[in-house]
Subunit: 210 residues, 2 copies
DNA sequence: CAGCATCCGCTTTGATACTG
DNA sequence: CAGTATCAAAGCGGATGCTG
């Protein structure tokens, strides 16, 4: 294994997760675990399949994820983060906070997957416990994303909601900008946001940082 | 520039700072900026000089650091993080929190520089404002490190203190373990810690997280 | 079809030597 | 001091083939 050879907390962290694609694999699992090889690959457009296989092996060997046999009848392999792997969430959150303002107003020729909004949304939002819980479905690209706010916490998951209080559709940057405080509801609508349901329910979630 | 081509906050962050050695350069500047090329190189044992030069150029181009001419009479180039670069501190802090438990009880054949303790110490400690300020000199390797606690904040800087209230000497892991709560004063002494001064002053700084 | 392994050309990195 | 130049080795990306 290639190592920096430094007795330093940052360097030893990077020895384990500093390789190319590695943190993006962790991102996929943080958002959608447990998932199959194919699901990980689908969330990582551009990765070479041999490299993905090698990274998964490395991460397993380093105690960051585990490989488990799915229960019958599906019979496939599922990848899931260990406790050590889950502990990378704050790292990914901070990376996403830093990287979010670097995103341009539109994807351009970059690929976009709706579930990639999960980390930014979870770190940008907090739920007002005084108001009731709220479930929001977000449609910004390939597949919908559900934002569930309750008891002061906000969690995202891939897939359609069966009982959304509210559905938001629009370009990714507008969705993020709305929650991030970059513009208000009217501004977001002017930029392509479509709201289906009681928009007032949006007040139940608020930016968690100024 | 090689890019992941993903419209995702994490991926765009890694596009800018995901290359090998890059975050370690940021670590050096966070701790010791402004510093000269040679200072950065000395804090990054193992880096190839051509690679360091290229990374510094990239980071400058990406708006993460600036190159400035030092005032006479020294006449050298100084590297300093921009606001964008400084904003990486939370990322490095979380990486260091994650990586710290991975460090073994001794450096083994890895290189150690005392100033690398700065990020772990700053994130592990908080100052009790009710108690007075305290200045601690740490000696764990090549050069001393000063820990200054005042007004509820803890800051580290390289170099000797001129008016330390307390001096701690010992192996790196013991210093960290003492502040981290891995063992108490007696345990740390048993593992090689030498305290010069009023050890009671240590109570003025406390672990900030459980 | 899911989950890889192999092969190959290109890019990045590492080690060392040298320079204004 | 602050790099540049050179070259070998390793890593990566893309295509394709194999196996249960």
């Amino acid at each position: 294994m290639r190592t920096y050879g430094q007795y330093c907390a940052v360097a030893s962290a990077l020895d384990l997760i500093g390789d190319r694609w590695t943190l993006l694999i962790v991102r996929e699992l943080l958002i959608r675990q447990p998932c199959r090889y194919t699901d990980v690959a689908q969330g990582l457009p551009g990765v070479a399949t041999n490299l993905l296989a090698e990274r998964l092996r490395q991460l397993e060997g380093r105690g960051i994820l585990t490989r488990e046999a799915a229960p019958p009848p599906v019979a496939t392999t599922l990848f899931r983060l260990t406790e050590l792997g889950e502990a990378l969430r704050p790292v990914l959150i901070e990376l996403s906070r830093w990287g979010l303002p670097l995103l341009g107003p539109s994807p351009g020729q970059a690929v976009f997957r709706t579930h990639w909004l999960s980390l930014p949304l979870e770190s940008a939002l907090c739920h007002d416990p005084a108001a009731g819980p709220v479930t929001i479905e977000v449609r910004a690209g390939d597949e919908p994303l559900v934002v569930e706010a309750a008891d002061g916490h906000v969690r995202c998951r891939s897939g359609a909601a069966r009982d959304a209080d509210l559905t938001l559709s629009g370009p990714p940057a507008v969705i993020v900008g709305l929650f991030y405080g970059a513009f208000d509801l009217a501004g977001a609508r002017a930029r392509g946001l479509v709201v289906d349901g009681d928009a007032g329910l949006l007040d139940r979630v608020r930016p968690s940082r100024a």
